[in-house]
Structure formats: structure tokens, C-alpha cells
Symmetry: C2
């Protein structure tokens, strides 16, 4: 018997899937002879591997550490996160039930997109934006609109003009602290403004905060400490964070804090997505986050080292390129953002840079259209000052070589 | 300025989200005074926690164990899985690139559903079916069709009749080894038949195999050993498995083996979903799965204990209920399936059972419509023979009490 039947292939949605430019670049730059300032990886040498091993040993003394756990996360970790989040919000109560633990905060973004975004719904993102968010919203078939970032965060005046002109987002996503890739922090005034707009126009704000605790200048003044979260000013804010940057990515522990209706919907979606997270890594994260004496000391080291690396990178860039390159002065986080003023196309520069043994992310990776051709993101987190100096030397040589070709 | 704008709520798809009956039941039965035969949890007392602790210690000697890893999974684990899968397939080569590691095999199901199923596409499932699969296909907005299971697995003759009559599935999902909840294993003849139908009609088969290695009778004969996988007979088969049942759920390590186009699409979807899994738990799983001397001895213990518990449960049920209850004779896996012949409604019986301190899953949880009202699934894995005997005594008392009411 013969049949005329078109074989099943892939779902239509797979046609529009595109790989994250950054994940692809990571594969390219895994070569030993390339100094990569491309990735968003925390410094491997600063990950507290001995403390992690001790936490694993402690967790595995409990039989419940090896079983399935609740879909919403291990209660022990949810309690610790709720208590820390309450401190971050200046003492505002945060119920344990409002915390959902996810498989890294990237899973939080994905599940929130599924819970909040119908195909075709409008999502507002920063311009430039976190690439992982662009990917999630694109898979969710959202209509993505951008609002520019300035030195004090998303331009909420521009957002208000767009709202007044009829823009009706379901969600506004922003990285308010030590923005990826721009490095800037949203001012308190703009936080209040964004929260008021959320209340007035009824959209959800996703306040994505992986870097808030990596603030550089906290010893002598409060200059580097971010203002209170946007979530302090409106109930329509969902706050995301993660243990990946301050403890270790391998825990795959992220979380969000949200109103009950959203937590309930995400819990059901997560049941289908993966049943639950790892009891073991959640208990490990809980132990380390609750060990405040150790954690505070660890964060002091992390902040000091990252601050030192940021200065080393930006000074080296200044010395190498002078006025030809505008470089951000990071006050926290993991990234510097730089823009060539001499017309250099950073996509073209990347080819020469890889030949010279250095990698970065071209600015176009952070836009939904073809912007930021003259910009680049450089991660200072993963390299020592000496290596950063060598990386900038190579970048200078690559720039000279590519200018000569042109 | 006032506005007339309907506030953003939840996405439309959240209207049809329903909680897994089993997950809800797990919450109900977490009471200390209830013996739960409801869950699909492996026996906590048989999880090799000391070996897991040693594997954690070993993994954390490698700096790459604490960082992000490749989206498709840590290469070390993918190699070990490919080698084991090749053995399972009787020596057929399995390239490392065809293995994708996921956050438990539930995530594999979800990502495969996203990659293969357009809304409205037909998906064929077993009848009765694994509830987690029903949930995933329902979230994917598939049109779910069922084919009955008999003592030799999915009735492929019935499937062939439906195909000849015009049924055009994109995917056929089946648990061929020690079926959940029915306990049966698909015969070799039906495996070949299903594979041939997949080739002729061009659908994908998802061969979901979490229990294949928990076969009871392997010492004196090959009676209990499942036939070669369906994947040996067609290229249109995607095989799923997991470390959750043989090592520990807490690792959250599952995997699938599939053709390159499917691996590529799922990798992109997984980038968005969670970036990657945990390097640490993947390296732990790799070490334990590659330690064949230890693993073989561990599996011998697991099979012997589970076989002993299965016999204890089915014997006790026979003694308690006699002809009023038909009980499966499990040859592997974690579940017995039983059907009352006296008209007992197991949904109603559950209320009485909980009052008497015992829990099971009513048969209706495994159907997309309201079938199996007289059936129930009982997990023997998590309880010792003495506890199973007490559980059956309580079930008998509950049955008597509920019959009296009726």
C-alpha cells in the first residue's frame, strides 16, 4: 500500500528561531589562544568553589536533598530569598508564597513570557537590550518595541510619550541596575516614574536584576548603591534575580517575586516544563545565601575585584584609543560599553579581533534591528588586569589592521 | 490625565492550564499519617546518597563544574550517554551529537513538543497515558488522540486502522518499557510495526523510557528484559530517558537521542528556555553512569528490591480483594495497575482511603477524558513490604467503609 502523505517535520515556530549571537560567539571564542571579553560569565577564579563543595556536603546529609521537590522551589530557599528580598526593599514585607524558584533567571523570563504574553502582544524592552530577553520575547511571538537607555536608565519620558500616543504594552522589561550591556543604573526618579506609568496604563514591569549586588563603591559612600527597586513603588512589578553571578551559574538557581495570580500560573507552566528544580542545588544556594557572615565577606571580595578589573579595562581602552572611543565608567556589574567615534564597524572589527586573539560582542547583538554598528560590549569580569591590558593591546592592533584594510 | 485602558492580565493560554492531578495529590498526601502509593518517586532509601556525595566532591575538583556549560549538555555526559545508548541498541552506533541533555526528561518532552507540534496538530498517546505527557501536549495546544494499551503495549493494529481512516499525527508518544501506569512492555512485533507505520505515514515516535533499566527478572532468563528499542527499527524515533529513576531526581538530568534537525531546533529553544543545565550535576551523573562496576551492582540491588516490593503489593492486594480486583503483575518499573470488578469508583474510594491513611492515583488521572473510573495506579517503589501490607489493609478498610455508605 502506498500513501501520499507529507512527512511530519518541525513545527512552524522553528522557522523563525535564531541562535543567540552571544552563545554562538562563545563557541567560537573557546579557543585557548583567544582572550574572550565576550561572555557574560562571572569570573571562574572568584567562584567560591570550596564553599560550594561544603554546601553540597551539608545538603547531602538530608534525604530530601536527593528527591523531587515542590514545583515552586524548596521551601528553605524560598524563605531565604524572601527575607533577603525584604531587606533589598528597605524592610517591606515579602511573603514566602510570592517567591518562585526557577532554573536560572532565564527560565523565569521564559515562564513569565508564557504566562503574560499572547502572540502579537506588545513588549517594551531597553534599547540596547539584554539579548536573552530579546530571544525569549521573540520565541513568545511578541511585538517588540524599544525605548532608549540614557545615563539614568530607560527614558521614561519617551515611554510616556509613546504611551500617550497609543502604545499599549503587556510587559515592560528593564535591567535597572548596572545594565547589560550599557552598565548604567536607573535613577530613583525614573523608577518612580516607570512604576506610576505601570499603574496608570496597567502593564507589567519585569525588573530583571542579576547584577544589583555587584556594586563597586559601597565602603566610603552610598554613591554606587542602586536606589530602591522599582517594585517598591508599584504592585505591577515582577522582580527577577539569580544566584548565578554572586555564587555560581552551575547551581541553576534563579527566582522571581510576583503577585499571587502570576505565581500560580507560572507554577502550572513549570509543572509541565520540568516538574521541579534540583533540591540539592537549591539547598546549597539557601545555605550560602543564609550564611550572611560568609556571604558579606565574599561579596566584598567580588565587588573589589570587579571594580579593579573595570578600572583596568577602561583605563587601558582610554590609553589605547583616546578620543576615538567613548567608554562607559561602570559603577557595578560585569560590562563596559564602548562606541567608536571614527566610523569603525564593530561587526567587521570582530573578524580582525579574532585573528588577533581577542573577542567582544558587537553592539548589533543587543538591538532588535540593525543598530549599534559602532558599539561593542566588553566583559571585564572574567580576566585579571594584566590579561585585560593584553586584550586591549590586541584590540588596538586589530583596529589598526582593519583600518588599514579599509 | 485619566485613561480608559484594560490592565494587562495573564496570557489567554493560562485559562486552560490545569494542575497535574498527581502533583496536587502529592501535596495532599505529604501528611505523616498517610502511606502514599500515589507518587512516581523512586525509593528514597534506595537512592545512593553516599555515591552521589562522592560524585559531587569529584565534580567540584574541576573548575568547569561551577560555570555555565554548553546548551546541549556537558560533553562528558553526552559521551557517556551515547555509549550507553549504543549498548541498549545492541551495538548500533550513536553519535555524541545526537544526544541532548535536558533538565529532567520532562523538559525534553516540553522542548520536543515546542519543536514538533504546531497548535492543532494531532498527537497520539497511550490509553491510559503518562499524565506529564498529557499536560505537555495540552500546553502545546495539540489535538490529543488515544490508542489503547493491551498486555503487549500500544495496540498498533488499531493505530494502523486509524491511520488508514485518515488520522495524521505529527507525533506518537509511548512508554514502551514497564508502562506508566499500566506496567506492560511493548512486544518486539509491535515495536517493529510502530516503526514501520512511522516510516510509512511520516510521523515522529517519542519513545519515552524512564524505566527500561528497572527490569526485575534478569538473572536466570531474559524474560524480563525488554526487546530492542523502537529506535532500532526506524530513523523517525526520538528516545528519551533520565537519571531520575536509577540515580536520583535531584540531579535533574534527562536526555534524548534524535536526528540532527531536531537536536538543532531543540538546542535553540533551550537557549531561550534556560541557557543550559548544571555542569555540576551533569558531571556527577556522568561519573556515576560511567562507573559501570558500581552502577551494575547498584542496579542489581534496585531491581531486586523493587521486584520484592512489587510482589509484596500484588500478593497483599490479591489476599485482600480476591476476585473483586484485577491486578497487573509488574515485570519492571515502579507501578501496579488495578481495576475493580465490583463497580467501585476509585475517585470516590480515594476520599475514604485518605481518611484511612492511604493514597493512590485514581485511573481518571491517566485519560484525556473520563475513563478508568474503576482503576487505580499504585506505586510500590517507595515503601517496604511491611508498609505495603499495612497500606493494603487500610485500603481494604476504606473499601469496606465506602461500600457500606453506598
Amino acid at each position: 500500500m502506498s500513501t501520499t502523505y507529507r512527512p511530519a517535520g518541525l513545527a512552524a515556530r522553528t522557522d523563525s528561531l535564531t541562535s543567540s549571537a552571544i552563545r554562538d560567539l562563545l563557541a567560537l571564542t573557546a579557543r585557548d589562544d583567544v582572550i574572550s571579553l565576550a561572555g557574560g560569565l562571572p569570573a571562574t577564579d572568584l567562584i567560591p568553589i570550596d564553599r560550594i563543595a561544603a554546601a553540597a556536603e551539608a545538603a547531602l546529609r538530608r534525604p530530601d536533598a536527593v528527591q523531587y521537590c515542590e514545583t515552586s522551589g524548596h521551601r528553605t530557599l524560598r524563605s531565604v530569598v524572601a527575607a533577603r528580598e525584604s531587606l533589598t526593599r528597605g524592610g517591606m514585607p515579602v511573603p514566602v508564597e510570592s517567591v518562585i524558584v526557577t532554573h536560572g533567571s532565564q527560565q523565569a523570563l521564559t515562564l513569565l513570557a508564557q504566562a503574560l504574553i499572547d502572540p502579537g502582544a506588545v513588549v517594551v524592552v531597553d534599547e540596547p537590550a539584554y539579548t536573552g530577553a530579546l530571544q525569549v520575547f521573540s520565541i513568545a511571538e511578541a511585538c517588540i518595541e524599544s525605548i532608549p537607555i540614557t545615563d539614568t536608565g530607560m527614558d521614561t519620558d519617551e515611554l510616556e510619550r509613546r504611551l500617550a500616543a497609543g502604545l499599549r504594552p503587556a510587559v515592560v522589561h528593564t535591567v535597572a541596575n548596572f545594565h547589560n550591556p550599557r552598565g548604567v543604573t536607573m535613577s530613583e526618579q525614573r523608577r518612580r516614574h516607570l512604576a506610576a506609568l505601570a499603574d496608570r496604563y496597567g502593564f507589567w514591569v519585569i525588573e530583571d536584576d542579576p547584577y544589583g549586588e555587584i556594586c563597586f563603591d559601597t565602603t566610603e559612600s552610598d554613591i554606587g548603591v542602586p536606589p530602591l527597586p522599582i517594585a517598591c513603588h508599584s504592585d505591577r512589578v515582577i522582580r527577577l534575580s539569580s544566584a548565578s553571578k554572586i555564587l555560581a551559574p552551575t547551581l541553576r538557581v534563579g527566582w522571581f517575586v510576583a503577585p499571587p495570580s502570576i505565581c500560580a500560573a507560572v507554577e502550572l507552566l513549570k509543572q509541565g516544563a520540568d516538574l521541579c528544580g534540583s533540591s540539592m542545588t537549591q539547598l546549597m544556594a539557601a545555605e550560602m545565601l543564609a550564611d550572611t557572615a560568609w556571604l558579606d565577606a565574599h561579596l566584598v571580595v567580588l565587588r573589589r575585584e570587579y571594580a579593579c578589573r573595570a578600572t583596568a579595562l577602561t583605563n587601558a581602552l582610554g590609553a589605547e584609543f583616546g578620543d576615538r572611543l567613548t567608554v562607559s565608567r561602570p559603577e557595578g556589574g560585569m560590562f563596559a560599553w564602548a562606541t567608536f567615534r571614527d566610523g569603525t564597524d564593530t561587526g567587521e572589527l570582530l573578524d580582525a579581533a579574532l585573528d588577533h586573539g581577542v573577542a567582544f560582542v558587537p553592539g548589533t547583538a543587543f538591538a532588535s534591528d540593525a543598530q549599534y554598528r559602532h558599539s561593542l560590549r566588553l566583559s571585564f569580569a572574567g580576566s585579571t588586569p594584566a590579561v585585560l591590558a593584553e586584550a586591549v593591546r590586541r584590540l588596538g592592533a586589530a583596529h589598526t589592521a582593519s583600518t588599514r584594510v579599509r
